[in-house]
């Protein structure tokens, strides 16, 4: 599947463009983040808290134009995300003031 991460996290993980991940079913936000952090350990703690695994306050999750940030992390992601037709988006929220 395809994941888009914010500019600063791409720099941190030293990747260009989208990230390709293998995620076993069921594909959920939690499973995607687990796979992302396994492939790129430097991203642990940057998207969600190390201990509580809660989403950091200024991070948002989007899939197929839907904001999933407040959904339970074990909610299955849409089929288009699972098949790689659409990317799963991890966004740094507009919160600059």
């Amino acid at each position: 599947m395809r994941v888009v991460i914010p500019f600063h996290l791409r720099n941190l993980a030293r990747v260009d463009g989208e990230v390709q991940l293998e995620v076993a079913a069921p594909v959920t936000v939690r499973a995607v983040l687990d796979a992302l952090e396994t492939k790129y350990p430097v991203l642990r703690g940057t998207v969600r808290d190390h201990v509580t695994l809660k989403r950091r306050p200024f991070i948002r999750f989007f899939a197929c134009k839907e904001d999933l940030s407040l959904e339970p992390p074990d909610t299955p992601l849409p089929e288009a995300i699972v098949k790689g037709e659409e990317p799963f988006l991890i966004i740094g929220a507009m919160a600059g003031g």
Binding site: L9, E37, T38, P41, L43, R44, H50, V51, R56, F58
Partner: protein
């Protein structure tokens, strides 16, 4: 030929300024970690090519960066998946994991209630004087952490928060361990300073800590004249040859102790204002100290728009303004607590950075100053390495 390397942390990245021992012509590299807040960058005195940086973001949290080649390349320690594999094959990736030990506990909140400790960022990194892989880290919310594996993992020394931590309260700038001083003659002795809790000392390598705030006065914030904690200490400084003598820039007041913090006395003397943030000690003259007076706690800029460093050659009380080369009109920048440092060349070099993005240097102990660079983002910290 000797060299100096100045490590500058700013609101939008880190910069490295290098020069030969004349300290006249400078090369500037950066921004490193562009767009991130770099609270502090400091090199190991044991291995000067080993440098640590605290990189933070309101969006993405805390990152620790490490360079093993004098700042040319950087890596979050332990972020290479191959380095991180545990025997079971799982990545650990804990170089940015700062977790309070045990029950997290509570401190005093603005409304007087108790509030749980919440990790926000690392303000200060203090490399060990004997081991390049060991570093102390000062955190907001206030705590001290230590790594012994080059920054791959960090562990809190929880005894600090046991020193009446329930009475500590954040100031307007937060509640952080911002100063860590190591005693080169006694590895078990460490001093820290916290806003707004005060100064603390350990004699057993960080297991237990004692508040050392006797003599400090904060009459409006702390009506109790004998309050052991709660003082807003902005910075403390020590000359390595005299570890029992400390100098302090408090919220208001410039102070000195001759007995490792058991009692502090006011040495503000003829300063035009004794509010400020940084304080530092000349590398070769332990009685020569520097401060940058700021108008007041309500107006964080120099008095009368004149940027003046004040120097005392007598360990306090008698101060002279150092102005040559510094703007003497229309200057309304601030100099933050970790943004002043001294090199160990002869004559001693002094450096400081401003919230206006200037880094000034003096290659003659403060007699005259020149801007090394003028238009960086707001400067949060300045450290210098004197290289052979």
């Amino acid at each position: 030929m000797s060299k100096v390397r100045v490590l500058v942390g700013t609101k939008k990245g880190a910069f490295i300024l290098t020069s030969d021992g004349k300290r006249k012509n400078w090369e500037v590299s950066g921004p490193h970690f562009a767009g991130w807040e770099i609270y502090h960058v400091k090199g190991s005195s044991v291995d000067p090519n080993r440098i640590y940086a605290s990189q933070t973001s309101g969006w993405f949290g805390q990152i620790i960066q490490r360079s093993d080649d004098g700042g040319k390349t950087w890596t979050p320690p332990g972020s290479n998946p191959e380095d991180l594999k545990s025997p079971e094959g799982f990545p650990k990736g804990e170089s940015n994991k700062f977790v309070y030990e045990g029950a997290v506990g509570t401190h005093k909140w603005y409304d007087g209630t108790q509030h749980p400790w919440e990790f926000k960022r690392i303000w200060h990194l203090e490399p060990s004087l004997t081991d390049p892989d060991s570093v102390y880290a000062g955190a907001e919310d206030a705590a001290i952490f230590k790594t012994t594996d080059g920054g791959k993992t960090w562990k809190e020394l929880p005894g600090l928060r046991a020193a009446k931590g329930n009475l500590w309260q954040p100031g307007a700038g937060g509640m952080a361990v911002h100063t860590i001083l190591l005693d080169k003659n006694n590895p078990n002795r460490i001093f820290v300073a916290i806003s707004a809790a005060g100064a603390f000392r350990t004699e057993d390598g960080g297991k237990t800590w004692k508040p050392i705030n006797k003599g400090l006065k904060s009459q409006f914030e702390l009506p109790d004249p004998d309050a052991e904690v709660g003082h807003c200490v902005h910075r403390i400084a020590m000359h390595p040859s005299r570890p029992n003598i400390l100098f302090m820039q408090k919220h208001w007041d410039v102070m000195r102790t001759d007995n490792s913090g058991d009692l502090w006395t006011d040495i503000g003397g003829n300063l035009p204002t004794d509010f400020g943030f940084p304080i530092d000690v000349h590398a070769h003259e332990p009685n020569t100290i520097y401060v940058v007076p700021i108008k007041s706690d309500s107006e964080h800029y120099p008095l009368d728009g004149k940027l003046r460093v004040y120097r005392s050659r007598s360990g306090g009380n008698e101060w002279e303004a150092l102005t040559k080369g510094l703007p003497q009109k229309d200057c309304y920048v601030n100099v933050l607590r970790d943004a002043m440092c001294v090199d160990s060349l002869e004559p001693c070099g002094i450096y400081f950075g401003t919230t206006g993005g200037q880094v000034y240097g003096s290659a003659n102990g403060g007699d005259s100053w020149e801007p090394i660079v003028r238009d960086l983002p707001a400067v949060l910290s300045v450290e210098v390495q004197s290289l052979a």
